[in-house]
């Protein structure tokens, strides 16, 4: 088994076998390949970067080059069991609209993102007075694709505001699972399973 990024591993372990999945921002298809090979999942992908799309297609995956902000509307309602958005929400122009789209297309949705309220990020900003650069947020402010930084508590508020139910939540720190207590301070990364 190839080593999946930890947030992808959590998603892979919690997708029902044999389900239909749309992976939005699927990169080179690592999660899709794992879902296909380990769980017999019918996985489709959407990815912005042409190099990643080429790699994914050449490994036999069905991936379409496109932009989550504009290319989701063609997918019919509830055409997938899961819509997955991993480490992509914070790069989209309209994150709230994307959330709605995820739960229109998928019966459930997995969303993972780096937590901007993680204590190292906070201290970097507090002490250094500069936009944080951490292992999960490795790029400088003018190079990062992350245009909508979000914290776990922000995300919870958005989800509650849009009448979305949290069906499951997982947190990571230093790439290891950790409990939910004080997650907004101590989790570097969060994975949510959502339903409407």
């Amino acid at each position: 088994m190839t080593s999946l990024r930890p947030d992808l591993r959590i998603i892979a372990d919690n997708v029902r076998a044999g389900s239909r999945v749309l992976d939005i921002g699927c990169g080179d298809g690592a999660l899709m390949a794992a879902l296909r090979d380990e769980r017999g999942v019918d996985a489709r992908g959407l990815e912005l970067d042409p190099g990643d799309v080429s790699t994914a297609v050449s490994r036999g995956l069905s991936v379409v080059q496109g932009d989550a902000d504009v290319d989701l509307e063609g997918y019919p309602d509830k055409s997938f069991d899961y819509a997955i958005l991993s480490q992509t929400l914070q790069t989209t122009r309209y994150p709230a609209r994307i959330l709605d789209e995820l739960l229109r297309i998928g019966r459930e949705a997995f969303v993972s993102f780096p937590n901007f309220a993680y204590w190292r990020v906070r201290s970097s900003l507090l002490v250094g007075g500069r936009m944080p650069v951490t292992p999960h947020l490795p790029m400088l402010w003018y190079e990062t694709p992350n245009i909508h930084h979000v914290t776990i508590d922000d995300f919870r508020a958005l989800v509650a505001d849009r009448a979305i139910t949290v069906e499951g939540e997982w947190f990571l720190a230093a790439n290891r699972p950790r409990k939910g207590a004080l997650a907004n301070l101590f989790a570097e990364h969060a994975v949510f399973l959502l339903k409407r």
Binding site: G60, L61, P76
Partner: protein, 378 residues
């Protein structure tokens, strides 16, 4: 391989068959008999499930990976088809068919109408892309091929490859559509009309009845080719290749000779084209492309053409292709998504415009190879 008849006259280079037909055409006419020229490479396996149909573009032909009999040039897609290539005769049974209406051995305006004993000329029925596809299916019946492992084509070949799963959903498992479109745009039709008018304005066209004459409408056909050729290239590509460079001279001549390299190049493209192509065929095939709008037969909704399809699709476009730009491929992809089809799509970067699909593109080969192998033929 051992099960394939070793000396089956149906298979091999430079094949031609006359099928009784009739082939019912979209215009209402019935074509009978139907003459079809084609080539095949490799062997049909025992399960008869390794056939790959390659569809050629407007002025292409069946010589996809063998020497062209008229020009002596290598096949038009040897970069994609051959030993070690994504389409490999070692693994695939490769078929390429000269489209109906063309002039390389399949029924077209230059072939003899059995009823009159003279070339059809403009009495040949007007064709559609679907007619070309139905003729290919008729040939597959003759060859004993029920289902294609894959159909693949670029440009007009892509229109055929896209039409295959819509017309014969049970006969094609994978479809690769490169640098193509689901319908001809007003701009596409406009450029073709310029070409057709150039041919028909040539006094040697004679209403299409030039076959017995010393010379056909070669000037008109050359101009048509020149105009079309511009649409196959990109501004970036033309600038890189020619810029404003002068042709074999140090200064402008203040005349109308080919002062610029780009003029000389286009003239050469036009002149060499008339040696290998029939002007009436050019009229008929461009007409078929202009009539192409796959959604038209499905209430204007392209997704309906693919509802419930089990065919896998792979689409590739090129960023400098302004003839069939990426947005056209994306329209197809959106329709396929709406139909729940298994679809892949990528826009590749190339400076060469529409013609990029015929040129060296390791990325295109990597994608096609991976896509075909995932379809089950490795």
């Amino acid at each position: 391989m051992a099960d394939a008849p070793p000396l089956d006259q149906r298979f091999g280079l430079n094949r031609q068959i006359v099928l009784p037909g009739p082939l019912m055409l979209d215009c209402g006419a019935a074509l009978s008999p139907v003459q079809i020229a084609y080539e095949s490479y490799g062997s049909l396996n025992a399960a008869r499930d390794n056939a790959v149909l390659i569809c050629h573009a407007l002025t292409g032909d069946q010589y996809v990976a063998s020497t062209h009999p008229a020009t002596g040039k290598p096949g038009w897609w040897v970069r994609m088809v051959g030993p070690g290539k994504p389409i490999d005769p070692e693994r695939h049974f490769v078929i390429c068919v000269n489209v109906l209406g063309s002039c390389m051995g399949s029924s077209g305006p230059a072939t003899v109408n059995a009823a009159t004993g003279r070339p059809w000329a403009m009495d040949f029925p007007v064709l559609t892309i679907a007619d070309m596809v139905r003729a290919q299916a008729m040939l597959l019946d003759h060859l004993g091929i029920g289902t294609l492992a894959a159909v693949i084509g670029g440009s007009m070949g892509g229109m055929q490859a896209l039409s295959w799963p819509a017309l014969f959903p049970d006969r094609v498992r994978s479809a690769v559509i490169i640098a193509s479109t689901a319908r001809h745009s007003a701009q596409n039709i406009a450029f073709h009309e310029v070409g057709r008018q150039a041919i028909m304005a040539d006094h040697r066209w004679c209403g299409g009845h030039y076959y017995g004459n010393e010379e056909g409408p070669s000037s008109g056909l050359a101009v048509a080719r020149m105009a079309a050729h511009i649409t196959y290239l990109s501004e970036e590509g033309l600038t890189a290749k020619f810029g404003r460079n002068l042709q074999d001279r140090d200064s402008k001549t203040f005349g109308f000779d080919a002062d610029f390299q780009v003029e000389s190049y286009l003239r050469h493209q036009g002149i060499s084209f008339v040696d290998r192509f029939d002007a009436n065929s050019y009229l008929y095939i461009t007409r078929a492309m202009d009539y192409f709008d796959l959604a038209e037969g499905y209430g204007g909704n392209l997704a309906n053409a693919f509802m419930g399809t089990r065919t896998r699709f792979c689409l590739i476009s090129f960023d400098t292709d302004w003839l069939y730009p990426t947005v056209e491929s994306r329209r197809i992809v959106h329709a396929l998504n709406a139909a729940g089809a298994e679809a892949s799509f990528v826009e590749l970067s190339s400076p060469f415009g529409h013609d990029a699909f015929l040129l060296e593109s390791p990325e295109m080969n990597r994608i096609v190879d991976g896509f075909l192998r995932a379809g089950g033929l490795s």
